[in-house]
């Protein structure tokens, strides 16, 4: 009695067939048993039902090419048969592949690796718990960091022993302040133009175009100049702080500093935060000026207000307080941006993905905090009646 089931041998190069001859079942494999056809062979082998014969022989002498994926399929098939109580009498393969089979057989007895799939309510609860603990830990670390910063800063000011690195400080001021002049200036100028244009449009209905200048003066000096500058700097320098410090952490540079005996706060955090606190008010002042120039240009073209008339009206519209209210916020924004940027940089773990994640987080957090603080300032100033 001969019964032959054919799996792919005739269709393409690789496959196997099952022959039953006089009660002996033989699994005959042939062709190239390689990783490229492993998917198809795997499906066929899994679907194979030999109908529980007592004995099976695996004959792979006709295999022309075997790699570890193919070898695994043969070994797995044999193990599967054996666990189902079938005696595998003989496994024959070309001698060439004996070392390969030996390597896999000898080394590999473990069950398959499970790649866990996340699903279900438990996973959600786990995430919630992990998230809560993470947030608490983060808060704890942030508190420690703030305390450390306060101590280092006070020491640098009241007990200076060279722990304020002036060269690093000036490099930071150049990088944060001077190099940001083009972008901050351009954006402030454009905002001046937009505000003047939109303001003039609305105020014209009341024939009160001249008050466009009041709008510009108060709007830019008090609020927008500082806010826009802080947001640009958060995106530009806050992110750079996190990325620089984070990359240093990945490269063991922070550890190296510590083992050399250098205070990482002195060299990394203080110059950056202080540099920002010095540079941001100056940048804000510059943005105020550029914004007013943008507004003046628009007033001239749109409303025909000349520069002297603009200056006269501006002088009437604002007091010195308007300007100071805008500028006084800048060092506070700077401290927040700098502290958040450096803090997140120090939180980076030893992998590249973490640098990107924390850089994003640093920008989002500092922009968020800047806007919240700005709202807070508005409330305080209105209570104080400034």
């Amino acid at each position: 009695m001969t019964d032959i089931q054919d799996f792919g041998t005739s269709k393409s190069g690789a496959g196997f067939r099952v022959e039953s001859l006089d009660g002996v079942t033989r699994l005959v494999a042939e062709g190239n048993w390689t990783v490229r056809v492993a998917a198809r062979l795997d499906a066929d082998l899994r679907a194979l039902d030999l109908g529980r014969p007592p004995e099976v022989a695996i004959d792979g002498r006709a295999i022309t090419k075997l790699d570890s994926a193919g070898a695994w399929l043969i070994i797995r098939t044999r193990r599967d048969l054996e666990t189902h109580g079938v005696r595998v009498t003989d496994v024959r393969l070309p001698d060439l592949y004996a070392p390969l089979i030996h390597t896999i057989e000898q080394e590999h007895k473990a069950p398959p690796v499970e790649v866990p799939r996340d699903r279900g309510l438990i996973r959600i609860l786990e995430n919630l718990g992990e998230g809560t603990i993470d947030a608490l830990r983060q808060g704890y670390r942030m508190l420690g960091y703030l305390g450390r910063f306060a101590i280092e800063l006070l020491e640098a000011i009241f007990q200076p022993r060279g722990n304020l690195r002036l060269a690093a400080l000036f490099t930071q001021i150049e990088e944060i302040g001077i190099n940001a002049l083009p972008i901050v200036g351009l954006l402030a100028f454009l905002i001046g133009i937009v505000m003047a244009y939109q303001g003039a449009d609305q105020l014209r209905r009341f024939s009160a175009e001249i008050f466009t200048i009041n709008l510009l003066g108060v709007g830019i000096l008090r609020e927008l100049g500082g806010l826009v500058t802080a947001i640009i700097v958060a995106g530009r320098s806050g992110s750079a702080f996190t990325a620089q410090i984070g990359t240093m952490k990945v490269n063991d540079e922070i550890d190296a500093l510590q083992t050399i005996g250098i205070n990482t706060f002195d060299v990394l955090v203080l110059p950056r935060v202080l540099g920002l606190i010095i540079a941001l008010p100056l940048l804000t002042f510059y943005a105020d000026v550029m914004g007013m120039i943008g507004g003046a240009v628009m007033c001239y073209f749109d409303l025909g207000i000349t520069a002297p008339a603009f200056m006269r009206q501006l002088h009437d519209a604002i007091s010195l307080n308007t300007f100071w209210v805008g500028i006084i916020k800048a060092p506070v924004f700077a401290a927040v941006i700098g502290l958040v940027g450096c803090f997140e940089g120090l939180q980076v773990e030893r992998n590249a993905a973490s640098v990107g994640k924390l850089t994003t987080r640093s920008v989002v957090e500092s922009v968020f905090l800047v806007i919240v603080l700005d709202a807070g300032f508005s409330i305080i100033f209105s209570i104080l009646g400034i």
């Binding site: 795997d42 790699d67 592949y97 390969l100 030996h102 390597t103 069950p111 398959p112 690796v113 790649v115």
Partner: protein, 256 residues
């Protein structure tokens, strides 16, 4: 060596590389034959890694031809059916593992990319590769940042071997490993080379590895390559090669 009739897997002709204005490779020629393990040595900055990068197409040389399996090895925008990228595996110095994926997912990247295997079979093959490179099973679900340097190398090797390549590139595979792990690594490379008939191109400084695992050695000196067996190279009059093989470490490793 009776290498005349053997198939040439890597063929380099007239390779010139200039990096930062400095001539690194001056018309190099190299043939790597199927089934051999070639070790590449040279001083720091002599351009060993640049040579490897040029061969795998990560660096476009100034001049010269490089063929791997008779094909241009530079990355294609569209991947042909039987591209060289599927036929080789590369182990980078630091492992080059994708940090956002677990070890198991890392190993499955080439399988997922090149085959239509079921997840089940991929998991089985992952387990097999892990045990082949000597990693414990529980490392499968770990992220690269949770692994030690040696484990990263092993995981990187498992990924390089995942899709059963014919050609394996190793960049300093034993650097940073303890001697026991390094010995195991040498044995592993030998085993794999025998059982899978791999061709191996290995950049290494490890004299023990050179002795234990390689068939031929290519030495990069003075922007040129000198290729031969250890015994042939030790007779070479070049002072760097003499120093390399006959210095204290060389003598200790080579047992003379």
């Amino acid at each position: 060596m009776a290498s005349g009739a053997r198939e040439v897997v890597i063929k380099v002709r007239g390779l010139v590389n200039i990096m930062g204005g400095r001539l690194i490779h001056d018309h190099l020629d190299l043939d790597v034959y199927r089934g051999e393990v070639l070790g590449v040595v040279g001083g720091s900055g002599s351009g060993k890694s640049v040579l490897l990068h040029s061969i795998v197409g990560l660096n476009t040389p100034r001049e010269g031809q490089i063929e791997v399996f008779g094909e241009d090895s530079r990355p294609h925008r569209e991947r042909p059916e039987n591209s060289v990228q599927m036929r080789w595996g590369v182990l980078f110095q630091e492992g080059g593992l994708f940090s956002s994926q677990t070890v198991a997912e890392n190993i499955q990247v080439p399988l997922r990319e090149y085959t239509k295997m079921s997840q089940e079979l991929m998991n089985e093959i992952t387990a097999m590769k892990l045990s082949m490179v000597g990693l414990p099973e529980e490392s499968a679900t770990k992220y690269p940042s949770e692994l030690s340097g040696g484990m990263k190398k092993r995981a990187g090797l498992a990924r390089a071997l995942a899709a059963d390549p014919e050609l394996l590139f190793l960049d300093e595979p034993t650097a940073g490993l303890d001697p026991i792990s390094a010995n195991q690594f040498d044995e592993l490379v030998r085993d794999l080379q025998k059982s899978l008939n791999l061709t191996v191109f290995m950049v290494t400084h490890d004299l023990d590895t050179l002795r234990a695992a390689t068939d031929r050695i290519a030495v990069l000196v003075n922007r040129k390559l000198k290729v031969g067996t250890i015994d042939e190279l030790r007779r070479d009059p070049d002072p760097w090669i003499q120093e390399y093989f006959s210095g204290a470490r060389g003598r200790a490793a080579l047992g003379t």
